[in-house]
Structures are given as structure tokens and as C-alpha cells.
Symmetry: C2
């Protein structure tokens, strides 16, 4: 039996070891990436060249197999967690004998849908371009979210080359359905409940603060979608012969949508802001300390005004939002015809904060549509329905919504994450909530754990749009951050 050390001495030693190890791992990672930049860029490019959109399940599966193989090459015990009808989750684990904690690294390997005609180049033919004197790699998922996966793999390589051992058990959960709203994630995790449990899930997704500083985020907005279609004449009518008389669905939709927000962008749907859980004093303090990037962002996005009546971006993303993701009715431009269109459709994106249930938020919008005189259906309306009601709306609820989640910043494990990240990067921004959404709730329920989000991508990465890109320096910085987090004990 070994002698039992003095507890305060042990704490001191642990602290010293922790500090030294974290410094070491970040340094180790920096040396590794600077020595291997060309081949790392090449390997990342190869990963990005595998298409990863929901419409192409064969290639999603290919991504999963490639990633599982990359984990195995690094000595990680890896397999696919599969479910019929869903892209598999890539799973990996490293068991460290005697480890007290298990840290789970979450990321996702699927990307947003692409419209190739909108891209300069092709979405799955990665290219390097210089922007403001810095190199960026352009491809779908370069930032969102293969960057995080590649940074984790590279951090493993760096630590292994320097013979730095892990101190906690480490697990990897890389999802393939995040951009579709993670409809099967909770089920897949539930089916492998023991494998995916951890003391903390680190969510490696999203962009860092717009200031460029490394960011740790303690929650994310939830998300819910609705698709609304309103009806005019059953077939397109000549807008000369019937204009003024046949109701125009594009105008009906405009009037319906216009009533949902005031001129400042505040949502007018009744009860839309009801039930919000207020920010804690620690969260308010973190927000107050965070950089204010609004003017820089307005310049960058060519904006002459912002919504929110003068409130800052960081305040506003701690509120629920309603956004139109797309509008369509007949054609515009050269293909426009003199028609009263038969239908007009809007896709609505509802972002949620803690305290608001996603299904209830959808219902509030549906109730609002009803209050505007619409008979609401959830299937293609029949002739009978259309002729018997002055106004008819088909509202499709996207069933892949989820709620917002926020982890308290002062939990012990949260404090350790902050310490590790601060050991790797000089300036760190702490934010209560990310504007974008990740299905944190599903993870927390299935893994019975807390989540903390550590993004690495540049904010101006065009994620969810054409010409998505990652600033390569963000990748190298991200490897350092991931190396520090892999050394959590």
C-alpha cells in the first residue's frame, strides 16, 4: 500500500501537473501543425471532397466509414452507431486506466444542402484562396463542422507524436444528421446509452466570436421550423383578366408575414416571448465583458441598419427569433409571367431560448395564422376545403425541432474547461448562448451529462451558404484548443 499524501499537497501537485500538461499540449500541438501544415492541409482537403449532404445518403455513409477508419489508425477503438433510415454516428473511445472522468467530444460530419450554381468553384472540390493576406480553404463543411473533427484527429496525432498520454477517458461522437435537425440522434444515443455517457460533452461546432478570439459557449438556441403555403386560384390565372378579383397568394403571404414582426424586428406573434428563463448574474457579467462587434459586422455584411431597436447582437441572440429562410411564388426575373400564382410559400425558422418549448413556439405561430382568418391544414387542401374557406394555409411542422439548453458557467467541470481553453489561447470570450442551434438537450438527456461548446471556425465562414470556408489559422488554433481539452483530467 502506498503512503497517503497530504491532501493539500496533492491538490498543489495536481494543479502544477495540470498547468504544465496543458501548456505542454498546446505547445506540442503548435509545433506539430507548423511542421506538418502542407500534409495536414492536403488531408483536410481530402476529407472535404467527400460530399456530405442529406440528399446523398451513400456519400454520408462513406464519410462515416472514412472517419471511423481515421480514428482506428490513431489507436482509437471505433465503430458506427447505426439506425435504419439515418446516417450513422461515428463513435470512438480511448479508455485510460485509472481515469476518473470521461470527456465526450461531439462534432458532426454532415453539411448543409448546396446549390452548386451559387458557388465560385464547386462545393466538394476544396480550393485554397487568400483573403486579406490569409489562407482559407473553401468547401462545404470546411467550417461547419469537419474542421472540428479534423482538429480533434490532428490533436490526437500531435499528442501521440510527443508521447503525451491522455488523463481522462475520451469518447468521440460524430453525428451525420445535425444539419437536418438531428431527428434520430437521441434514439441512436439511447440505444448506446452506456457507450456515450460522460462527465461532460464538449460540443465542437459553430464559429468563434466575431472578434476572432477563442470562445467557450455554455448553451445554444433551440430550433423549430414551419413551412407555410397559402392558396390563390387552383391554377395560375392571367393577371390581366383576373387581377383585382382573384386573390393573389403572394400578396396574402406578404400580408400574413408582415404582421409577424414590427419595423424593429420585434416578433408580434402573441406569447412569442412568454416563459423565457432570465440570464443569471454570472451570465450577464460574461455578456457585459464580451467584445461588441456590431459595427465591424455591419461593415462586413454591407448593412445599413440592424433589427432590435439598437440592442447588440449578443443581447439579441439571447432572445427567441423568427426568420424567413425562403420565399417562393411563381417566378421572378426573365422567367416571370403575367400570372396570379396558385400558391405562395415561406419557410420559417424559429430560434428558441431556455424556457420556451419548440412545439409550443410552432403552435404560437400557427395560432397567429389562424387569428388572421386562415383555415389551417396540415395536408394538401382539397377543392372542398379551398372553396369553403376564404383563406387556407397549409402549415407543415418540421418534426425535427428541439429546445435551447444552457449550462451554468460556475459548475466545477465548466470552470475546468475554461481553465484548459485559457491555457491554450491567450484571449477567451465566454458566452451564455450561441445564436446557432445544436441539439444539446438530446445529448444531455441521452448521456445524462452537461454540455459546453468550444467552436473553432472563423465567424465569416459562410456556413449554411455558398462558398463556405475556413480560415486555416483557425484550424491550427483549433488543434491547440482540442489538444488542451484532450488533456482534461
Amino acid at each position: 500500500m502506498q503512503p497517503r499524501p497530504n491532501p493539500s499537497c496533492l491538490l498543489l501537485l495536481l494543479w502544477l501537473a495540470g498547468t504544465l500538461a496543458a501548456q505542454t499540449s498546446a505547445e506540442v500541438a503548435r509545433r506539430y501543425t507548423s511542421e506538418h501544415q502542407a500534409q495536414l492541409t492536403q488531408a483536410f482537403s481530402q476529407l472535404l471532397s467527400i460530399p456530405n449532404v442529406a440528399a446523398d445518403p451513400g456519400n454520408l455513409e462513406r464519410n462515416a466509414n472514412v472517419l471511423a477508419g481515421m480514428l482506428k489508425q490513431r489507436g482509437v477503438d471505433s465503430r458506427l452507431l447505426s439506425m435504419a433510415g439515418a446516417p450513422p454516428v461515428v463513435y470512438g473511445q480511448v479508455v485510460v486506466p485509472g481515469a476518473k472522468r470521461t470527456i465526450v467530444f461531439y462534432a458532426h460530419y454532415d453539411g448543409q444542402p448546396v446549390t452548386p450554381s451559387e458557388w465560385e468553384g464547386a462545393p466538394f472540390t476544396p480550393v485554397i484562396r487568400e483573403v486579406d493576406g490569409e489562407q482559407r480553404i473553401y468547401a462545404r463543411s470546411a467550417a461547419d463542422d469537419k474542421a472540428a473533427i479534423f482538429a480533434q484527429l490532428t490533436a490526437l496525432d500531435a499528442l501521440r507524436e510527443a508521447k503525451v498520454s491522455l488523463r481522462a477517458n475520451v469518447r468521440f461522437v460524430w453525428e451525420g444528421e445535425e444539419e437536418a435537425g438531428s431527428p434520430h440522434l437521441e434514439q441512436i444515443l439511447d440505444a448506446s446509452r452506456e457507450s456515450i455517457r460522460g462527465d461532460l460533452w464538449l460540443i465542437c461546432d459553430g464559429p468563434v466570436d466575431q472578434s476572432g478570439m477563442q470562445t467557450v459557449v455554455f448553451g445554444a438556441r433551440g430550433d423549430a421550423h414551419l413551412e407555410v403555403t397559402v392558396y390563390g386560384p387552383h391554377r395560375g390565372l392571367h393577371s390581366g383578366h383576373y387581377g383585382n378579383w382573384a386573390p393573389n397568394p403572394a400578396m396574402m403571404l406578404a400580408q400574413l408575414l408582415a404582421g409577424m414582426k414590427d419595423d424593429q424586428g420585434r416578433v408580434l406573434v402573441p406569447h412569442f416571448y412568454d416563459g423565457i428563463t432570465p440570464l443569471s448574474p454570472a451570465e450577464k457579467e460574461a455578456l457585459a465583458r464580451a467584445p461588441v462587434n456590431d459595427q465591424m459586422l455591419m461593415n462586413s455584411f454591407w448593412l445599413g441598419h440592424t433589427d432590435g431597436g439598437g440592442a447588440h447582437l449578443l443581447e439579441l441572440i439571447n432572445q427567441p427569433s423568427l426568420n424567413i429562410n425562403g420565399l417562393a411564388s411563381a417566378q421572378v426575373g426573365a422567367r416571370a409571367t403575367n400570372v396570379i400564382p396558385p400558391t405562395a410559400t415561406a419557410d420559417l425558422d424559429l430560434r428558441l431560448v431556455v424556457g420556451i418549448d419548440w412545439r409550443e413556439q410552432q403552435q404560437r405561430v400557427i395560432d397567429y395564422i389562424r387569428s388572421r382568418g386562415y383555415f389551417v391544414v396540415d395536408n394538401q387542401p382539397t377543392r372542398e376545403i379551398l372553396t369553403q374557406h376564404p383563406k387556407v394555409a397549409l402549415v407543415k411542422r418540421d418534426e425535427a425541432g428541439y429546445n435551447a439548453v444552457r449550462t451554468a458557467m460556475d459548475l466545477p467541470i465548466a470552470r475546468e474547461v475554461i481553465r484548459a481553453v485559457e491555457s491554450a489561447r491567450a484571449d477567451v470570450v465566454l458566452l451564455p448562448t450561441m445564436g446557432g442551434s445544436v441539439p444539446l438537450g438530446a445529448m444531455e438527456r441521452a448521456a445524462q451529462t452537461h454540455t459546453v461548446t468550444v467552436p473553432i471556425a472563423n465567424y465569416d465562414d459562410n456556413q449554411h451558404a455558398a462558398n463556405e470556408n475556413l480560415r486555416l489559422q483557425n484550424l491550427w488554433n483549433g488543434v491547440e484548443t482540442m489538444a488542451a481539452l484532450l488533456e482534461l483530467r
Copy 2:
């Protein structure tokens, strides 16, 4: 020298001859079409199989050459009136020695743009389908407006076979740019001023009254277009990270458009109804006598309400209108992404009545857009413009607009047209204004003449939409009507 007849006797004889000839020509036409239906359907089908959209000028030219050839085959002196950058006008004339009058038959051979994916079948592969026990031919321009051209050619054949001579000089002017707003018609006509002059222009375009009765129309609404684009962020932004803060152009456009009309469809743009020339007592009386088809049309179009606060269709098309022909912002449905779109666009169609100038009506809408806080530009806005103005709208004025025209129903030549048509068809509806537009003003100015419109297509012909079609019985009736008009003296 022949004996000079008693003038009143001559009038009686002329009247008798006119009546007999008109009866004869309609009968002649009916016999002809019933004897040759199969081959006429085949020949019409061939004409419809030549694509005739503005985007395909080569095929428009092919249409023109084929039509000029068809006129020549019938002994009509024919040629093309050409102008660089415009599809040619097909011109034909028959000089009748001693004729006192010249009657000009106008029609157009171009069709509305097509979106083939929306068609059942293909727009230029004509097919016959049975609808409610009657045959219809489906193809772009089956109704609008090759039907009128083919009816005129067939009426010529019928009269020739029966050796019935024409009594007035007859001219044909078949345009190739009507669906693009006839931007060059007036110039082309001006350049051939003597050739195209006539005592009357008969405009053979549009559908008959929805009751199915043959219709004579004494005017048409004018038309003007605007394309409005409003701006959000310069590139698509993630609707999670920036939603509530970055202005959403789809919502901005919805709010801008929504304010243009009230819930009843009345236009709220200031001065929109200013300056309208009121209907004469004769016009009001004709309107009061016309069939009321509203309920039948609502059933046919699957409508549960109409705009106009209870006013009838025929009243409403004697008012100016504002219609949205199309809306677009990012994507909807399966291709939608979580994006704040960079732009949103609406195509607006303004229909005009006598007393309102088309450019002034465009200006009223532009002034309204300005009054809603928009900085209006007519070219792609620069970064400087976008960042210096809270709201920016690019408004493209379509320069191919024109004014409404109305011919008095009690002019002598107008009365003769009514008489001729009533000799061919049992029930005739007289309307002061057609809802759809034809550039009557350009014709009246260039040809220094009056216009009267005699349409032949069925109202439910899907003109300007997918699956355009002509009820074949309307074609046969139309041949009778055209034969009667060819016999005007």
C-alpha cells in the same frame, strides 16, 4: 354609262347583300370546318409545335416565315416587317378593287415563357385531351394567340372554297413580341405606316367571356411592370447566429408589399386611382347586360373568396390593378437552408385603365416605396449605398409598358362589327374593357385608326400558365366569326 340607281334603293340592296353575305360566310365556314376537322386539327398542331418564346428568337423567326408562307399559299400578298433586335411582324394584304374600306386583322404569334417541368406533357408537343366531354388541344399559344391566326387562315380557305369574295381591303398584322410587351411594335408600324393603315383594326386576341358566349371588346387595360429587390446582408448569413439582428430581406419585402393593398385587395399606393376616365352610359349599360359569371368562376378556380369587397369581376377589370407575378428569396422546401437571404425580389404587374399613364403609375409605386423609407436605385447598389442607407430597393422599370385604350361602342364602324359578329354567333357579349392587355394605343397611333377586339379562345385556357389549351369548338366557332368579319365591306 350605267343608270344611276335610286340612293335609298341602293342602301336597301347593300343591306340585303350584307345580311345575306354575312349569313353565307358563317355558314360557309361552318360547313368547311365540319368537313375538314381532322386535317385542320393536324395543321394547327403543326403550327403549335414551333416553339415561340422570346428566349428563342431563332424559332420566333421560323414561326414568322411559316406564317408568311401560309398567307402566300392563300393568295395573300405577304412579307415580313423586320427590325433589328425584334421578331418580325408578319404582314399580308388583299387588295379588293373598288373597296371603300380597309380592315386590319391583328393577332400575335409569340407565346408566354414556359417552365416545361410544370407542364403535363411538353409545351411544344401538342396533344388533344378530352375535358368534360369536349376536345381541347394543349400547347403553348394554342389559345394565346395562334388560335386567332389559324382561325383567320381557315376562314380565308373556307371563303375561297365557296368562291365568296372579300368586299373590303383586308390586311393582316401578326406580331411576334406581344408577350414581351410589344416594345418595338409602334416603331415597326411607323416604318410601314402606309401598309398598315386601316379604317379599323380588329384585335383577335384574348378569351371570350367566361359564359362561353362570343364577345366583342372595345378596349383593353394597359400594362406596366416593376421588379423590386430589397437587400439584407451582402451574403447569406446563418439564421441562428444572426437571426433577430441582421435584417431579413424576405420580411422587409413582405412588409413593403403588404402595405400596398388592404384586406379587400384595394390598392393603398397614394394616387393609384387618380385620373380614371369614367365609363359612358352606353358602356355602363353593356356592363349591366353582361353575364355575371363570378360564382361559376370561383368554383372553377377553387376560390373561397374574391378581392374587391363584393364587386363583380367585370366591374373590377374596369379599375387599375396591382398584382404580384412572382416572389423569390433564397429557397423553400427541400432546398431551404437556415439562412438570412441576401435579397428578396417581387415582380409587380400594374394594369391600367383609360386616364392613367403607365409611366406615372410606375412612378406612384416607386414614390410609395420611397415613402416607406427605402433609398431607391435603378442599378445594383454598391457597398457604399447599402451601408449608408437603412433600407435600399432596386426598382427596375420595365420599359415596355403601354396605356389602356377604349373605343366608343356607338361609332359607325363599331356598330358594323357588332352586326357582323351577331350574324355569325347567336349570343354576343359586349364589353367596354378586356382585363388583359394588348398594345392598342401603339396600333391606334401608328395606323391612325380605331381598334375593336374580337377574341375567340375559351376563358379557361391556362394562357400565361402551364398547360395552355384551346377548346377545339372555340376554334371552329372562331373560324365562323372571322369569316363574318372578313366579309365586312
